[in-house]
């Protein structure tokens, strides 16, 4: 037991969780904490320019590193500005812990200055949240928060800290054990379910694997690839699963769903046994769910029991950690599986993949072509983040990922403005690899103010703006399904992004041709400051393939 202030106990607790970086903005209700951070060398505080970016940066840090990301904001507007970032982390099961200041306990409920009920607000978008009742509770709550965020199905946790609990001095015990009676994540797969799944897979003619974000968060890539190779089962990925199998692997089909590849959407639909791992059958993945894989027997592996049967009723449910389940399946199957003659099917897969590759050979400044060229200039471990909309789907479709945690995108919430701050978080986590945000002009303008933090904190990333002067994805829907009635999507004269970057002290490059683009990327890769590359593209460009909303995933519009 040691006597210290709550603020000191908090920072000490963070050190014990091996926190080395906090993304945040101080304010009236967190000054005592920042006063302790002032003299804490072990923890670097990165001053962001908007709390939403602090949350996204923590999220990007978590996804790139696999560690818990930490963000901090003051009470009231500081806290509410975190909300989009927390919701984003919740939808994509990203482990972050958000700390918020709160008005002193005697003022709670009195509508005090900068008071907001952030615990109430974030209840439906956090895995759990806390309000510190007294300083002595801080070590136990922080320990519990990190445990909850990073265990089971990961997710965001919020800790709200009234200002007077930061100031009060109390007897602090750092050795408190934590116990959560209502939370016991199940990691081990049930052997009987594994047996049943193995039997189904042994007899399958066309087994297909759908791999989701759970593969990445459980570190199951090598187990996945081993099983796919053993079964000769092609692997389709959700947006969150991108990178879990190298996309140049012969069995990798690419993205599935509304903007799925031709190979993914057809091969999944033709499966007789579907092994879905660490994914949740979201509407963007399944299309019309009533017509999704009607003939397949479905094995669904997920660590979250509530995902089983939520959108699709599987034939064999397995509640377990993806890595442990895949390992158990492999061990079971390696003994009994006999290779089958599948050359016709494999040829069909190769042919469908070929059709996809042809799209990226289009001439001119077309995003598929640009992304293909970009890939050649980047090392395999370069980290890609994306904004949301056309830029995101182009990147998902045409920029190959080779390793887990190298493709970071806002999947569930679809947050425009996510990619840039997430790239800053990823760069802080992995300073030695290039980090590239694939952006649209609309998205980038939602969080571009954090160019300031990227310059001041010396976090050099590369932003590539596919600049079409439109809110491109909405425009695409209006073009295809609303008779080209372009309602409120014309951004008009967007800013001069070169000048904008330069105004912040970053580097801006405008490119007008493919060769200029390549040169710009090479310059950016060598630069010590953030580089914004502005690539004008046609406003009329569409992302294809596309499945119209509500249709089955084989109803593909190719061009």
């Amino acid at each position: 037991m040691v006597r210290m202030t709550g603020a000191k106990a908090l920072v000490e607790s963070l050190k014990r969780q091996k926190v080395d970086v906090i993304f945040g903005i101080p304010g009236g209700a967190t000054i005592p904490i920042y006063d302790v951070l002032y003299e804490t060398d072990e923890i670097k505080h990165i001053l962001m320019r908007h709390e939403q970016c602090a949350a996204h940066a923590a999220d990007g840090y978590a996804r790139a590193s696999g560690k818990v990301g930490v963000c901090m904001a003051t009470s009231g507007p500081g806290a509410t500005n975190l909300v989009t970032g927390i919701a984003n982390a919740y939808m994509d099961s990203s482990p972050i812990v958000a700390f918020t200041g709160q008005v002193p306990r005697p003022l709670i409920g009195k509508d005090a200055f900068q008071e907001t009920d952030i615990v109430g607000i974030t209840t439906p978008i956090t895995k759990y949240n806390f309000q510190i009742p007294k300083a002595s509770e801080i070590p136990r709550i922080v320990k519990t928060a990190f445990y909850i965020a990073s265990s089971g199905r990961p997710g965001p946790v919020l800790v709200d800290i009234p200002k007077d609990t930061q100031i009060e001095t109390d007897d602090i015990d750092f050795n408190d054990d934590i116990e959560i009676r209502g939370y016991r994540p199940n990691y081990e797969p049930h052997p009987l379910q594994i047996e049943k799944a193995a039997d189904l897979l042994v007899n399958a003619e066309k087994p297909v694997i759908i791999a989701g974000g759970g593969i990445i968060s459980s570190g199951a890539s090598s187990e996945l690839i081993a099983l796919a190779e053993l079964l000769q089962a092609p692997v389709s990925t959700t947006l969150m699963g991108k990178g879990c199998i190298p996309e140049d692997h012969p069995l990798a089909l690419g993205l599935l769903g509304m903007h799925g590849t031709i190979a993914s959407n057809f091969i999944v639909s033709e499966a007789d046994v579907l092994l879905a791992v660490g994914m949740r059958f979201s509407d963007r993945t399944t299309g019309n769910i009533k017509k999704f894989c009607p003939d397949a027997r479905i094995i669904h592996i997920d660590i979250d029991t509530a995902e089983i049967g939520k959108n699709i009723e599987p034939h064999i449910p397995i509640v377990a950690d993806a890595r442990m389940a895949l390992k158990a399946l492999y061990e079971r199957l390696v003994k009994k599986f006999r290779r089958k003659e599948r050359s016709t099917w494999m040829n069909r897969i190769a042919e469908l993949k070929q059709q996809h590759d042809e799209i990226s050979n289009k001439e001119g400044l077309s995003p598929p072509r640009l992304l293909k060229e970009l890939r050649k200039l980047l090392p395999v471990d370069a980290i890609i983040t994306t904004e949301v909309g056309q830029n995101q789907m182009w990147a998902a479709l045409y920029l190959k990922a080779y390793k887990p945690r190298t493709f970071i995108s806002s999947g569930g919430l679809g947050t425009m403005g996510f990619g840039f701050p997430a790239s800053l978080g990823a760069k802080v986590a992995c300073p030695d690899v290039p980090v590239v945000d694939i952006a649209g002009d609309g998205s980038f303008l939602m969080t571009e103010q954090d160019l300031a933090s990227s310059v001041k904190e010396n976090i050099p990333v590369i932003v590539i703006i596919f600049d079409n002067r439109f809110l491109g994805m909405v425009a695409q829907w209006q073009r295809l399904f609303y008779d080209r009635r372009y309602s409120s999507i014309d951004l008009g004269k967007t800013p001069d992004f070169v000048k904008l970057a330069e105004a912040f002290g970053a580097q801006g490059i405008y490119v007008g041709s493919l060769s200029e683009f390549k040169k710009a990327v090479q310059t950016a890769l060598k630069s010590d400051v953030t580089t914004v590359i502005d690539v004008p593209i046609s406003s009329e460009e569409n992302v294809f393939p596309m499945v119209p909303p509500g249709e089955e995933i084989t109803k593909i519009i190719k061009e």
Partner: protein
């Protein structure tokens, strides 16, 4: 008691602390599940409360409700109670107009037949306490409507299984 086929009673053990009722009710709202009744009170174990929830829905919905409840960290245990082997009780307070002695005497008689109690008397009304399963209470209220019901307060259902079928947290 005639059992409604699509009505389910869910008994949950939850952490007895602020915000838990909000978490549970918010989950129902956000996922589009409807609560018919909910009762909360202390359980036999310190620090734990029992929440008894009745809902209407098909089997699949109820399965999802149970999974989503279990997902909440402050929910420690969830059981679906089989109506065949469950004792359910509800308490109601009903204020009935009694403009004259004849009506007053009728109400008192009915209350006795239903094994209720008169708990408060005024010049022109009686306050009756009625305990039992929900159908009995509804039947009594229907009967009282002929006299004029001024106010009703019902607690919603609380329930426990019969015999050895424990919902206790082991």
């Amino acid at each position: 008691m005639a059992k409604k086929k699509d009505s389910y009673i869910i008994s949950t053990i939850v952490e007895h602390k602020p915000g838990v009722l909000y978490q549970v009710s918010n989950m129902f709202r956000r996922r589009g599940f409807n609560i018919e009744t909910i009762t909360v009170g202390e359980s036999e174990q310190t620090g734990l409360a029992r929440m008894t929830i009745t809902i209407n829905g098909d089997e699949r919905t109820v399965e999802q409700v149970v999974k989503q409840l279990n997902k909440l960290l402050d929910v420690v245990k969830v059981s679906i109670l089989d109506p065949e082997v469950t004792v359910t009780r509800e308490l109601a307070l009903i204020r009935i107009n009694t403009p004259n002695a004849a009506v007053r005497s009728d109400v008192i008689n009915y209350t006795e037949i239903f094994k209720g109690r008169v708990v408060d008397v005024a010049h022109d009304s009686l306050l009756v306490e009625m305990t039992g399963d929900s159908d009995k209470i509804t039947a009594f209220i229907e009967l009282m409507k002929t006299f004029g019901v001024k106010e009703i307060a019902r607690t919603g259902i609380t329930a426990l299984p019969r015999g050895m079928r424990s919902t206790r947290l082991e």
